[in-house]
Symmetry: C2
Subunit: 426 residues, 2 copies
Amino acid sequence: MESSQTQSKTVVSEVVQKSTLAKLAAPRLSLLSTDQKNKALLLMADALVAETSSIIEANAKDLQRGKEIGTSQSLLDRLALNEDRIEAMAEGLRQVVELPDPIGDILEEVTRPNGLHIRKLRVPIGVIGIIYEARPNVTVDAAGLCLKTGNAVVLRGGSSALSSNQRVIEVLHEALSRSDVPTDAIQIILDPNRSSVDEMLKLNGLLDVLIPRGGHALIQNVVKNATVPVIETGAGICHTYLDASANYEMALNIAINAKVQRPSVCNSMETLLIHQSFAAEHLASIADQFTSLNVELRGCAAARELAPVIKKVTDEDWDTEYNDYILNIRIVSELDEALEHIRLHSTMHSECIITESAEHAERFLQEVDAAAVYHNASTRFTDGFEFGFGAEIGISTQKLHARGPMGLPALTSTKYIIKGSGQIRG
Amino acid sequence: MESSQTQSKTVVSEVVQKSTLAKLAAPRLSLLSTDQKNKALLLMADALVAETSSIIEANAKDLQRGKEIGTSQSLLDRLALNEDRIEAMAEGLRQVVELPDPIGDILEEVTRPNGLHIRKLRVPIGVIGIIYEARPNVTVDAAGLCLKTGNAVVLRGGSSALSSNQRVIEVLHEALSRSDVPTDAIQIILDPNRSSVDEMLKLNGLLDVLIPRGGHALIQNVVKNATVPVIETGAGICHTYLDASANYEMALNIAINAKVQRPSVCNSMETLLIHQSFAAEHLASIADQFTSLNVELRGCAAARELAPVIKKVTDEDWDTEYNDYILNIRIVSELDEALEHIRLHSTMHSECIITESAEHAERFLQEVDAAAVYHNASTRFTDGFEFGFGAEIGISTQKLHARGPMGLPALTSTKYIIKGSGQIRG
């Protein structure tokens, strides 16, 4: 080994190594045809189904480890894979095949007076980093959506799903090796230490964007510490305001749906605001209905007076995303007070007014600053599938790049292509 | 003073105080009509012209201070205001009046099978932080573009223009006080310490986006340290590739234009890549032309052999944005070598191929990953006005939100407005 003395001693981390491979694969991915990408997605789907037993075997190791360290039953339930869940993952990939490919779409086209022909095209972003928690279905879902949009992806899932994710990626890589898509397009970070996340947050130049998917702590860690651009997703302190003129049946149905149809998700309601006259007439029965559905109610003094079943709310409660069978209730004297409460406590995800007043509806829709603002419908509809996008990479709660449910176009950038005939600038 | 013992002792910094005022003004700004905003812009323009002498007086203080601390003549030239320059600032505002207002534009509209009517509207981003260097015209320019798009703005200009900026803002505020636009919409940070910039970088929750405008060091400080979302602008290591089949006259004209028409700007050329056969025939005369225009040439060994006037290039030179009369030259054996060089050294701003081969042009346009990719035209055209946007807030070199020259839509976000008739999710 004659060069041993001058050999570099730099140890390249798994994160840098795999992100570099993804970066190198990205230019080739951007040139793939829709057909090439779809064929790979179908091979991936078939491979997952064919390898069901080996994936369940790997998953059993994660479950065993989870039980040993005392993981909660609800987390174990989300982690567990079975034939149906693996088939659902494969079916998700097949649905992505059916979606139109946004890459290459011409968004603008103009010929300037000097003869320059300018087109603005959709192109892949490049390399997308996804930082998420336990669920192994996110691994397949994110890989599929990134591949369809010509992006390379660096996945960093929770350590509790390590064996499952590793086996799933082996299966996907084997499928890609039989396709025109380079296997380097999909990378997974297996280092379970938090330092691997920290490293991804600062990997400007290799990662083009980070998308965190998970709970509040995970997302805030990424938003607060990343220097790579981030698409912030998820946090939802959503309000429903029952106006003086609300239709009682509709108001009750929508409020119940927004709270209990699936309390664990970001578009469910955390706080119900009620106009004082509507509350005087209906709060007692509304409180009964929620109580019978096992929802704990916490409210302001005026609310507690009308319905003693309501417990005392704290200042912190107004800013808490429960994701649980708990609901805050506040009585307001007029629309403006509801708007002000929302301005102070909303995470700008989804907000709703129930009213028969066209004027109040219009004011609410215009003045509330949120990704999705509703009149007379449940906030639970804020979802890529419900909006007709056919897919969802998450729900953006930031204002740059993408806001609200993100379909495939949220995973794209643009590029100007300019054709000339010798033009120079004067 | 009975409450003195319990009074809060918290000192709120200028940055937090002014950003809070901007944040509080933002909701009102988002509801202004186009007419209200345009009237305010015209009042601002007239006020600048009317107050020309007091602005020049304030500017004289900056120039005096600059001379005392030995500021370079070129910086003093950029800092200096006179009647013409103030009239140009006012004229810029009048041009913004003429631009279509993007706020309220309906980008998508659909009625879902369940009857939900979903519209995606353009809305203001909220509060935009602009961090920039000496030129006082940026103060007016940025204030005008943010106002037209219904955004509040927090400006933090260079300390060398402090007196000028302060007077300009006083004039703009006085104009706003006669309009429907709240004066709090435009804020300027006067604290000249770097800590005020550092504070802005972390002001998540009050600032919705940061746009740095200035040199490499300023931009990199913002990109590397901000946790507020950033739109990265500016850095341009732009290449022009002269292919084997390039038309000599066209190639020479475009290369000269890209280098010397205005070397100090980001879309000017830093490196000329030349196919070996084209170089064998033409490099000597190309080198002569550049030399006669006072451009210093630095090149690879092959280039120096063909034109001894070329000096030796260093590894660092390929990654340097000169913004000066210096040009790197490299001979490549084929298109792929040019593509590879660009992949390694481009800042993904503007890249150009000069060729008569449709096939090579198409490969270059598809494969080069940059905000603007040219065939047979000068990279100097990457500019909001040249693209027909009528304005430019900067040229984004990142891939999220906006890429390339940014017109008014780059200063907007979107919002979904959903109208229902009692829909709940099943």
